[in-house]
């Protein structure tokens, strides 16, 4: 086991380096950029030989909803990082959000980033697991058949924590 030295305020402490063995990504947002962040992190973990599980809640449910998964948009309003210098009003013009989203998708395609539903297929093929939040599904009146086939189950928050059980698990909230 590798040992790493960590500097604290006034002393050097030797610590055992512990591997990340599993990640649990919780996605509560439905914008293109947030969903991709979740997908890339989960898929990246699988590619590194780690376990990956995903839990979608609130607007994150859009990512696993058949009708919406491949039609997510990037936030052009209320997103100060998007096209700095552009007045927020422009971001709200009819069609602007769709245009920005389609441009974003084109750029991502160039980098071999697949559409959302294909990304889920990749994650399932790599042994990843995908779950929907029960409370949010009830709130939005969504049932198992509304979700993409890769969704393993609709679960409670307690069951979500069970997914995280084990040594070396890290949780990421998006």
């Amino acid at each position: 086991m590798e040992v790493v030295k960590e500097m604290t305020a006034n002393k050097v402490v030797a610590k055992e380096k512990k591997e990340v063995k599993k990640i649990l990504v919780i996605c509560a947002r439905g914008t293109l950029e947030d969903v991709y962040a979740a997908l890339i992190m989960a898929n990246g973990a699988l590619a590194e030989g780690k376990e990956a599980k995903m839990f979608f809640t609130f607007f994150g449910l859009d990512a696993i909803t058949k009708k919406k998964a491949d039609h997510l948009h990037t936030a052009t309003v209320g997103n100060p990082a998007f096209m700095r210098g552009l007045p927020t009003m422009i971001g709200g013009l009819p069609g602007f959000e769709a245009l920005a989203s389609s441009m974003m998708k084109k750029e991502m395609d160039k980098l071999d980033i697949p559409p959302v539903t294909e990304f889920f297929e990749m994650i399932e093929a790599g042994g990843g697991e995908i779950y929907a939040c029960k409370l949010a599904a009830d709130m939005f009146h969504l049932k198992k058949e509304d979700f993409i086939p890769e969704v393993n189950d609709i679960i409670t928050v307690g069951q979500m924590y069970e997914l995280a059980e084990g040594e070396g698990t890290h949780m990421v909230f998006i």
Binding site: I40, N43, G44, L46, A47, E48, G49, L111, D112, I113, P114, E121, M122, A125, G126, G127
Partner: protein, 103 residues
């Protein structure tokens, strides 16, 4: 820089064990490399390894998705052939540098 001795040939590798000179690779060396990962190479494995080497030679950045679309294996099979990080492990056995893609 390290040196790995396989079948009496000295292979130049980086600190993570990836070939630094892909021309040093051959199929016998791949068999020995795979053994270290507890993988017995089948014909299918070799098809994947050659695909990776060809793409590397063509300077095409490799991703798991590309291997899945190669017509040789799908992504599920790729994970099964090289368990524990398929693209990393297969690239190592194929004698090419570690892939740098995030997808």
């Amino acid at each position: 820089m390290d040196t790995l001795t396989i079948n009496k040939s000295a292979i130049k590798v980086n600190e993570e064990g990836y070939f630094t000179d892909p021309s040093q690779w051959n199929e016998d060396i791949a068999v020995e490399m795979a053994k270290q990962q507890n993988i017995d190479l089948s014909e299918k494995h070799f098809e994947v390894l050659h695909f990776l080497r060809n793409k590397y030679a063509e300077e095409v950045p490799l991703t798991i998705r590309k291997v899945g679309k190669s017509g040789i294996v799908d992504i599920k099979e790729f994970y099964k052939l090289f368990p524990g990080g398929p693209l990393k492990i297969s690239s190592k056995i194929a004698g090419i540098p570690k892939p740098v893609s995030c997808v």
